[in-house]
Amino acid sequence: MEKEIIVNDLVVRFANVNGTGSASANEMFAKSIFRMGIPVTPKNIFPSNIQGLPTWYEVRISEKGHLGRRAGIDILVGVNPQSLKRDIESVSPGGYFVYDSSKKLHEEFIRADINYIGIPMIKLAMKHYPIPRLQQLLKNMIYVGAVATLIDLELDVLKGVIAEQFSAKPKIIPSNYQALELGINYVKENFKYPLNVRIKRCDNNGDSILIDGNTACGLGAIYAGATVMAWYPITPSTSVAKAFESYCKKLRIDEDGKKKYAFVQAEDELAAIGMVIGATWNGARAFTATSGPGVSLMNEFIGLSYFAEIPVVLINVQRGGPSTGMPTRTQQADLISSAYASHGDTKHVLLFPSSPAECFEFTINAFDLADRLQTLVMLISDLDLGMNNHMSPPLAWDDDKKYDLGKVFSAEDLEEMKEDFGRYLDVDGDAIPYRTIPGTHPTKGSFFTRGTSHDEYAKYSELGEVYLRNVDRLSQKWETAKTLVPEPEFYQKDNRSNIGLLFFGTTTYAAVEAMELFEEEGLMIDSIRVRAFPFHEQIGKFIEQHEQIIVVEQNRDAQFRTLLINELELNPSRLISVVNYDGMPITAQAIQSGIKEKLSLGIS
């Protein structure tokens, strides 16, 4: 019987050994599909290791533009003997297992309900290339060529991507092309192609780009005018620093060839945020990037930033916790520890981007908000958003936009002032005082910054009433923050259901798809995507308007739900929680089944 032909709706997974150059071959595969106008979502599933452990690269291809992960693997390219058994088990019934047939596959690996496509990858590589490292690298191109042929990927597009990838080393392009052809020809000579799961050019990508969130954050910091970056290496945030530095080398060199930026690899995360605080105190825009363990270490300084009112931008690319946890897996589990980081009464502004375009936009927002509010602003990203490529609207910058550097007195302002300068004096009712930058004026505007209790003139005081005036003003400033942070996004014009779905960050992709799945089943659900903490008043209204709210998030303890209950003083029974916390990005199917289970809707 002929199999049903499925076009532009498949998942291809590559199972590799890390450190063998497979990542770049797999990325070229994904990019080629993207260039054919078909939406793709690649996910790199990698170990905390440099060489020798299993690593997977999963590409979801979805003409409908579903960018979340999807369960079920249609084609698995298994070139890692260590994970062979599990890889074969993971193929969907009716799916394909592409493997290196240089060695015969043992009988225990044979499943009756899947198809086997053996390509003698290493044999072909050894026959054509004398150097072992080359055999290894080009073996990757052999399987890329084979799979490309099997799914009908346009060869010219693939070759174009390869040529661009190696544009700096054009000498190696012909050998890559040749390896590609070896795979292509082997498939053509030995198998029926294309498979029933295949791709076909379409035009669904518009002006989208394929970029990772960390690169977008690094670029955002450059566009926001950050001049000081201090950081300490930690997965999965390191590539924010790397992106910032590499683009600075291109975009931030002055006419004398000198750097219009300082890039400091600190001795630890404590020093990293200390440097940021020192730099912003001294009038530069500065930021750091880290992950959960780094934020834990930064806690003391985070409190200083809050209490002494010093702007800080912190990019928190979350990974699986607690402790060292799963450093190369994704989670949204630093919500409470970020929102209330540090001892004493503290609260911090959090921004939740859900796409690389928003990583860029919100990083810029974070600098404006930090300067405007004179406090710490944390951009809450995660490993999935930060390190994986995502199809995203292009990064956008309006040339008319002016940085909001907040309330800073200039030398002229100070000169004209008749009254004494009060660093923590609320002169205009928004609870945000004016600050001065060291060195501004010879005799006016100097003050003493401290983490100890202080009065309006920055003088030390342990008087109860002085302390209360100060911390109550900080509470009032929090109210001001609510009016300045990005508003939530709604997915319907008017409410049409008594059930509301609430989500944020990378959960968005799967949540939007889950909504569609429900719609196909005839159930309309209203949705809201939260984009910032403190919660905008519209969020409370949306919750009020629905009988049942489902909060979807990627941590065990439903931390976002806790934040909502705590900050909006909600009855907990109104908020149902659907969570996913195994370290893999959440799927629409998981959300759908989670909701059904929780609501016991029994939708057929």
């Binding site: 005018g225 404590l270 020093a271 440097m275 020192g278 730099a279 200083l304």
Partner: protein, 350 residues
Amino acid sequence: MSYIKPTFHHPSLKPNKVGYLKKDYRGVISTLCAGCGHDSISGAIVQACYEISLEPHKLAKLSGIGCSSKTPTYFLSNSHGFNSVHGRMPSITTGANMANKDLIYLGISGDGDTASIGMGQFVHAIRRNLNMVYIVMNNGCYGLTKGQDSATADFGSVSKEGNANPYQAIDLAGLALELNATFVGRSFSGDKNQLVPMIKAAISHPGFAFLDVISPCVTFNNTKGSTKSYSHVRDHIEVTSSLDYVPFEEEITIDYPEGESAKVELFDGSKIHLSKLAPDWNPTDRFTAVNRLHDAKSKGQILTGLLYINPESKDLHSLMGTSDKPLNQIKQKDLCPGSTKLEEINNEFR
């Protein structure tokens, strides 16, 4: 005890070259214990800044936590100050320095703040040759928490509680030398004649200038068996050289006898004159300094003076190649690459 500091000054005290009187360099009244060594160091800082005609707003004073770290309120009220968190003054100073290379950065720390909780940041600031003056007001104990031994307390030193310290001391000057700090000095809060020119020279030095200043704690560590008491330090002090600091373009008015003094020219054209008290003393020779320090220690002496200076010092900005214009003064138009460039970048990802 008076809480208001008198503002009168001696009529003979003239304004300095930038028009400031000495009182313009003072801070609020100290709340440290009467007789605390730290107050003498604050006085030396005021004296040094006044004498070199530094405009107070061109200096930023930063500190960590502890008695020592409270002192920045007691000098230079017209300078911005930052009393940060325990042991983290170096990172704050690093960031501040990155933002504006044109200010002078004066970091004040203590032996607890530096040799224990802040050790990591201290050594890394040295490693980067951050352009700052780093003063440790070293009293060998934790004053604010009532006298526990610190990591610089000498082996066998007896604190007020009467126990001999069983641990080896961390010698911060020795450590700084070991780590290739480009300026290392040690002094005593009670020796203003030595300390004031040393602070001036440290301010002129383009790089990490470290001053370990023994500063007795009158309340908790000035007892008979303490090696950081006034009397012990006075009895065991060994001075390497006496020191004069001559600012750039200033005429040398003192006669330095030929062969008995050494001159070190600093980066900004200022000079240090060292009258040799110790024979064979060359302040630009790190190995001699290390040896002499060990030698003095083994004899129970406290070696003071300018121990080492590297006249070729290149600070962090020079090492990184940052622009001549301070980063905090570069405007949006010179920082933001604009939308056309962004479209090119977008195209890299299509």
